[in-house]
């Protein structure tokens, strides 16, 4: 098996799995319970919270809410800000290439009466700071832009974008760092709110968090027993949260080492793919090496994906989140690559667990499949 679909999800690490078992067995009490076992569970939970905050070096300025993943975090951030601060202004800004868990929440806000600006991206998929600057005004209360694009691996200049947002005191800056965490360093102290999932960094599905500045109040989306400071009611998944802390810690500590491993694979793949006349690469040259997106000029990407799958090689042809809908990549369309290229793209996404040998097998199989499949 060759697993090149790590941007969809990663294999949980041994450390995380054993920790889950241990914590679930030893501290199964409800962390809200007042008895000794409940207090112990709560202590573990708070340790996990502090561990993540200190890994981001944000213990003083930010707080953290444990959630079920980035989708819930994005929902809480965007809806929470819009509902809480709607009296300050009714304009919110995002980019055209965000993940559906941001984009569709903005669309909902638009239906609820907000003025929404969907910023265009350049041919590399980046939001240009000057474009954001032009869209900003004193009615803007929220800007949400992703750190790394999940389809192309394009990296946004978060520092410059943050600087622009902060020139407008009423505006908050949210960043979906789901694909960026563990891959690049970001100026986290400049970001007002950011969200991520555990399962993209060898943690567990169903875990994630939203970090945000201490002075921010969010209108809660889950109402009940006021867990997580009242921002997210519902019994907290203590063991899952501890696993998230563990996954974040490992991702941070091994970031440089992992990057070097993946860089070697990525460079090899990029060069090898360039040699095939059928392939055109969509990821910009300065994208994260973890994600490599390309299109087929004549073949049908879904057929190639299926053929690879028969060989035990797993890649994505359209982002897994909307594979049941229209099979055209709106991200590639927004980059101006045209409908043909946008409907026939493939994404390889790597992890440090992958090996160069796998990349070599992949290239050989891919070339062979391209050779023997008919044009679309």
């Amino acid at each position: 098996m060759i697993y090149f679909d790590n941007a969809a999800t990663t294999k949980p690490s041994e450390a995380v799995l054993s920790l889950f078992q241990r914590y679930s067995e030893s501290f199964f009490a409800n962390s809200s319970s007042r008895h000794a076992l409940g207090r112990e569970a709560n202590k573990c939970l708070e340790e996990a919270r502090n561990s993540i905050l200190s890994d981001f070096r944000l213990t003083k300025t930010h707080k953290l809410v444990f959630l079920s993943g980035a989708t819930e975090a994005n929902n809480l951030a965007i809806k929470g800000i819009c509902e809480q601060y709607k009296n300050r202004g009714k304009k919110i800004i995002t980019s055209a290439v965000e993940h559906p868990s941001v984009l569709n929440v903005f669309r909902r806000m638009e239906q609820n009466g907000f003025e929404v600006v969907y910023l265009p991206v350049n041919e590399e998929g980046k939001v240009e700071p000057c474009v954001l600057e032009e869209a900003m005004d004193k009615n803007t209360i929220l800007v949400s832009i992703m750190g790394i694009n999940n389809e192309t691996g394009t990296i946004n200049d978060i520092h410059s974008l943050a600087n622009i947002v902060h020139r407008f005191p009423k505006a908050f800056f949210h960043v979906d760092i789901t694909q960026a965490i563990g891959k690049i360093s970001l100026p986290y102290e400049e970001i007002d709110l950011f969200s991520f999932s555990g399962h993209k960094i060898h943690g567990l599905k169903g875990t994630g968090a939203l970090l945000f500045r201490k002075n921010i109040t969010l209108s809660p989306q889950n109402i009940g027993g006021d867990q997580e400071f009242g921002f997210r009611s519902g019994t907290v998944d203590m063991a899952g949260s501890c696993c998230l802390a563990q996954a974040v810690h490992l991702a941070k500590n091994n970031r440089q080492k992992n990057l070097e491993t993946v860089q070697i694979l990525s460079s090899y793949l990029r060069e090898a793919l360039k040699e095939n006349k059928e392939i055109v690469i969509n990821s910009p040259s300065d994208a994260t090496p973890y994600i490599l997106n390309f299109s087929f000029l004549h073949k049908k990407a879904s057929v190639i994906t299926e053929a690879l799958s028969h060989e035990g090689i797993y890649v994505s042809s359209v982002s897994a989140c909307h594979s049941k809908g229209e099979p055209v990549s709106y991200v590639l369309l927004a980059m101006g690559l045209g409908k043909e290229r946008a409907s026939n793209s493939m994404r390889i996404s790597l992890s440090s667990m992958n090996e160069l040998e796998e990349a070599k097998i992949f290239i050989a199989k891919l070339n062979d499949i391209i050779e023997r499949t008919i044009d679309r």
Binding site: K300, S302, I304, E306, H310, K324, T373, I374
Partner: protein, 403 residues
């Protein structure tokens, strides 16, 4: 008062003279199978009805299960009474008292001709008695709220007021077996259901063209067969590896004729497998005019490759009707999952709606398709779906050449 029996009225099979015993036996088997989740029940068969003795079970889920069994016209919830007229009166009265309704009539039938009163007398006297003893009831012979049926049979009298429609048709297995072409779309499962209702067993054939079709289609087919397992507890699915033949077609045939030739090949293969597995006809979900390959002109061109009967239960049905049926049998939600089948992947821009047989023959002379058809038949893989069991892959030992 509690009803203690279900009376099952046979469907069209009551006209079937000599075969009747076999029909009743087959239906009895299917009824027992459908009700195997209720071990306390017992069964009794006679010439006109099958009785389910409830032994205290709640009749509602049992009736629902029986409504899925083909060969049953209707199901009545009955009370078994002594035949003497005094107990008949008493039981009829307590039955009517336990029912809701303001108006009633009595319908009597006497198959025991030795009974001292004839049907008309029974109805009149029983009606009079009930009217006198239930002050809230009045008679309405045209649109009564309650129709009390009284059947005097040899063994006992049966009283009932509630009858539920059955699936109709013939008991499964009485009308042979058909090779059903299953694509995974909306139509073919509904066509399969139409056969099952008619008492025809199905065996399925599917054409897979990996990697041009996704393996996810197989999961879809398994889920569809799970739904059809309600009507036929074991179904065999033959999966034909079609890629090589399909590619050969596209290399040798002009684009507008590709679908026509592809369908001709499919029917050739279906016929071979049908013969091999003792199926007496081929079933298809085609509907006249729905797509280019389903016009009458196309059907002639495609049909001419086989002498086998091809039965198309949906030929004249409206798409909305088909969808309604698909929803009823629980296959619609599965069928609309978007995965590509071998027709959608090679969609010619202008498929021929009025293909000519001579043209088809011209294209088929251009390449040696016979060995490719043989290869398809030889390399069929089989999935068996049995009710309540995991799907399992069978190595096909019935294949040609090894018989």
């Amino acid at each position: 008062m509690n009803y203690d029996h279900l009376m099952i009225h046979y469907g069209e099979l009551s006209t079937k003279g000599d075969n009747k015993k076999a029909f009743i036996r087959e239906l009895g088997k299917n009824i027992r199978h459908a009700l195997k989740g209720f071990p306390t029940l017992s069964f009794r068969h006679d010439h006109d009805h099958t009785y389910v003795v409830l032994n205290g079970e709640d009749p509602k889920p049992i009736i629902e299960a029986l409504q899925e069994v083909s060969g049953i016209q209707k199901i009545s919830l009955v009370y078994r009474s002594e035949k003497d007229f005094a107990s008949l009166k008493e039981n009829a009265l307590s039955l009517m008292k336990s029912e809701q309704g303001k108006t009633f009539k009595v319908i009597a039938k006497r198959s025991d001709k030795t009974y001292p009163k004839h049907s008309y007398e029974i109805a009149r006297e029983l009606g009079g008695y009930l009217l006198k003893n239930c002050p809230s009831l009045s008679v309405d012979v045209h649109h009564p709220d309650l129709s009390l049926h009284v059947e005097i049979r040899d063994d006992a009298a049966y009283l009932y007021a509630h009858t539920y429609p059955g699936a109709g048709g013939y008991p499964l297995g009485m009308n042979g077996k058909i090779m059903m072409m299953l694509s995974g779309g909306i139509d073919s499962p509904v066509a399969a259901y139409a056969f099952l209702r008619r008492g025809v067993r199905i065996e399925c054939i599917h054409f897979a063209a990996p990697p041009y079709t996704s393996d996810a289609v197989l999961d879809k087919l398994k889920d569809i067969l799970r739904q059809l397992n309600v009507y036929q507890p074991d179904i065999r699915l033959n999966i034909v590896p079609f890629t090589k033949l399909q590619l050969a077609i596209y290399q040798n045939v002009d684009e507008p004729y590709c679908i026509t030739i592809m369908r001709r090949m499919m029917f050739r293969i279906a016929e071979r497998l049908a013969k091999l597995h003792h199926c007496l006809a081929i079933g298809s979900g085609e509907s006249i005019g729905q797509v280019a390959s389903q016009t009458l002109e196309s059907m002639i061109a495609i049909n001419s490759v086989t002498n086998y009967p091809i039965i198309r239960p949906l030929a004249v049905m409206d798409k909305l009707q088909v969808i309604q049926l698909a929803e009823k049998i629980g296959t619609y939600e599965i069928s609309i999952r978007p995965f590509e089948d071998c027709c959608t992947i090679f969609k010619p821009k202008k498929p021929k709606t009025k293909p000519k047989i001579s043209e088809c023959e011209y294209f088929e002379k251009k390449f040696a398709w016979e060995p490719l058809v043989d290869e398809c038949v030889r390399n069929v893989s089989v999935i068996i779906m049995k009710e309540g069991e995991e799907a399992y892959y069978e190595h096909d030992d019935l294949q040609e050449g090894r018989e």
